[in-house]
Amino acid sequence: MQISEIATKNCLRSAHTCKIGKVFKERRQLLSLSESQVASEIFVNVNYIKGIEHGDYSIFPARIFALQYFKKYANFLNLKLDFFDIYNSH
């Protein structure tokens, strides 16, 4: 289980996740919030915030973490975005 997760982690970034990440970043900046402030406000690891904004989900231990924190961050920014399931897109 651990081996397969590690093996696929390098591929967890795509043009689509990057575009979505940019939407997060722009909304956050519009609200004049830093990544750390968001992390502190919604109790999420700051590296997860960075991962979502950079469209790179390799930071997450597993898909469910990416999905749940994506939703949590989107709710906080009041963004209506669908999670792009890069884990099952190959």
């Binding site: 289980m1 502190s40 231990p61 597993a62 469910i64 999905l67 749940q68």
Partner: protein, 242 residues
Amino acid sequence: MKNSETYFHNFESIDKTKKSILYIAGAGMDHRLVRAIRLSDSEYNKPLIIDLPGHGKSKGSSSNSIEYYGQFLINALEVYDLKNLSLCGHSMGGLIALDMVLNHNFAVKELILVNSIYPTRVADALLAKAKAGNGGAANFIIKYGLYRRLLGMRNAFSEADDLVMLDDLDACNNYELDLNNIKNAEIPISIILGSKDRLVDLKTVENFTDIVPSQTYTMDEVGHFSFFEDPVELSRLISSIV
């Protein structure tokens, strides 16, 4: 660190810039649960644990209510205002952690259940042992729960001449959680199981993970006492999650 009633383990050295994990012990157990957990000193504070009332070095009386224990810990933690906190509950402690997050909206970064699942129903034979005293119940749990041969496991349990084990086991049996609350959990729940754990029902785990956003990890050749049976692997898993 201590106040007059409650024992706080490793709270005297908290660095708020580091990650903190509050461990919650299972039935009849206490701060000794974390004695072999080792995480990177540069990234994590020492393992934090608060002895529940009537357990370990804390005074007071045990309770047959998971909700009571959850509220107790929330109150105890209030003064520390930890913003970088995760919860890791072992066995009954997992139920307490669930209750803190789901019923009290206690904000944490990660929630980890170790050898724990909801619901936890305790066998009548174990309850009968617990009614006779802590020692018999501890021996029963060790007999059926421990997979690796470990000397001194008995020392991790309460030796007091009270019925703290009975209270704790009743608390597990009594605990009811609204499944809709679990379904809507904002954070994923990490579940660490032992492949040889005979005290956690795999069918119950399956039912739980079907509903709840969660990730399950299984430790090979480990029973119900991952903290003692393979603390190195458990530490590695915890640090990969938090």
